[in-house]
Amino acid sequence: MTIALETRGLEKSFGALRVTRDLSLKVMQGARHALIGPNGAGKTTVINQLTGVLTPNSGRILLEGSDITGLSVHKRVLRGLSRTFQINQLYPDLTPLETIGLAVSERMGRGGDWWRRMGTRSDVNTEIAEILSRFHLLDVMTELTSTLPYGKQRLLEIAVAIAAKPRVLLLDEPAAGVPESERHDILAAVAALPRDVTVLLIEHDMDLVFSFADRISVLVNGGLLTEGAPDEVARDPQVRAVYLGEAADA
């Protein structure tokens, strides 16, 4: 099996605070890999380095074998690395139709077209329609994102990431804050992600992690504590001590 996403000796400090310590992580092609860890373990910092929002102090990041450490955020997206955000990072003044349309246009390299009106390319439209219907957003596609129910916004968040046709998708707590009634849609959408997309899931919710992941890495204090198949990790006494103990009283 080939490696889809890899970090080698990743280091990041804010002042005296070391938030990522010598992190080496391998995510295999097609994997459902989960990155878990207690609050403050540095999960979000890792994501931000993977996507290019933050630059690591040292270490490399490789996407399908090629070094992307120095690439800007949007170039990584075009290379096939996409993410969702923990807290909705959508465009309040845009509709789902426009949001997905933008993502599809950008991926096709047509986002800079300044003379063509929106909606005039059938290949773009077909894909928008496909994504909107897959994520149950057709009925709300002309409403402003800011007015959508929270569950729909979470779906849109995942849909936007998928619209970029990623080969590696980083899911940052996809079900966080979603009311129980709308939760099923999110979990179904996550479960239905195409198998050829490699997924790195960052999650707090242990039910979701253990039902979804085939491999789990545990992050503590910015460093890798252990890694393995779900049942191995669940049995690991160290993990039980630092993580599951914490989750029990969370």
Partner: protein, 343 residues
């Protein structure tokens, strides 16, 4: 597949011409025949509308707050003036485009300074560039005519056919046609994928990058385009008034421009045009009350607009037109004000 046809219909809906838009332009044209004695002030309004449209492209669509947009207006004005004065390009339309391109070049070069940093840095850099140009124009008074401005500009007939007359009739129609053409271009641009990506950037730059939008490249492009528009507005100023003096760069000009756009509302293209009409009418009114101190009233308008809230004011202003349009066209609010805070 109905989903597909739905998607294409709705995707194209925003770019469709509305009744109210056609009415707006018909009214603008009608003014030319209704008020033949007021060509000069109407030309002023058209020019200001174009200038405000330019600011709307970067402020309303891309969220860049600029305190020095007069820089491009001034460069356009002086370029057009110098081209005409020294007989380099005599035909006004070609000179107009040339002046716009000079401003666009400056916009392109300075855009690299503007895309860096937070709001405050942008404010300072845009303001600094305008002041710098003003200082330069003052320093090289042998070229710019210093505080007296360029003297003795004589405009040749447009396309060799239409002579500028003393009542400003030619100037007005010329300006209105230029505005309409540039408006069509802007309308096309904001309804394109490019325009959509700008709105995404204004909403959330980080997220825009995360779906693959090259944020900096888009901002550079729109800043350059806006500079072109402002340069054209400046060139129109020189061509229709045969004047270009240092105050084209002044801070008051940039500040007034923001007021124009704020009165009309940002982020829907017509804001600048409506704002220009209202602003000029206010200016006329205040100047007739207190010719010397109208700055006070302009300041008061700004303060009141902000305190009451821009969005709320526009809802009030558009209440009546929307009511009428709804009666006649039987459609939801036709003139919408998009929420557009550049924070």
């Amino acid at each position: 597949m109905t989903a597909l046809s739905d998607v294409s219909t709705h995707a194209m809906a925003s770019a469709r011409w509305r009744v109210s838009e056609v009415a707006f332009w018909a009214l603008a044209l009608a003014c030319a025949f209704l008020f033949p004695s007021r060509y000069l002030i109407m030309t002023d309004i058209v020019r200001l509308g174009l200038f405000a449209l330019s600011l709307d492209l970067i402020l309303g669509y891309a969220g860049i707050v600029s305190l020095g947009h007069a820089a491009f207006f001034g460069v356009g004005a002086y370029s057009a003036g110098l081209l005409a004065l020294h007989g380099i390009i005599n035909e006004p339309v070609i000179a107009l485009v040339a002046a716009g391109l000079v401003a666009a070049l400056l916009g392109f070069l300075t855009s690299f300074l503007v895309i860096r940093g937070v709001d405050l840095t942008r404010l300072m850099v845009t303001l600094g560039i305008a002041l710098l140009l003003e200082a330069l124009a003052e320093r090289f008074s042998n070229i710019t005519g210093g505080t007296d401005g360029l003297q003795g500009i004589e405009m040749q007939p447009i396309l060799g056919l239409f002579t500028f007359d003393m009542f400003g009739k030619t100037g007005f129609f010329y300006s209105l046609i230029v505005l309409f053409i540039l408006f069509l271009l802007a309308r096309r641009v904001v309804h394109s994928p490019f325009g959509l990506s700008l709105r995404a950037i204004r909403n959330n730059p980080l997220r825009a990058a995360a779906i693959g939008v090259p944020v900096n490249r888009r901002l550079i492009a729109v800043y350059t385009l806006a500079a072109f528009y402002a340069g054209i507005a400046g060139a129109l100023f020189t061509q229709t008034t045969a004047l270009a003096s240092l105050d084209v760069f002044s801070f008051e000009r940039s500040a007034d421009l923001m007021l124009v756009l704020v009165i009309g509302g940002t982020g829907y293209l017509y804001g600048g045009l409506i704002g220009a009409v209202v602003f000029k009418m206010l200016q006329e009114l205040f100047q007739s009350i207190t010719p010397q101190y109208w700055l006070f009233w302009i300041g008061l308008v700004l303060v009141v607009i902000v305190l009451v809230g821009r969005a709320r004011i526009h809802r009030w202003v558009l209440f009546v037109p929307n009511l009428i349009i709804r009666q006649f066209a039987g459609r939801k609010a036709a003139v919408a004000v998009p929420e557009s805070d550049a924070s």
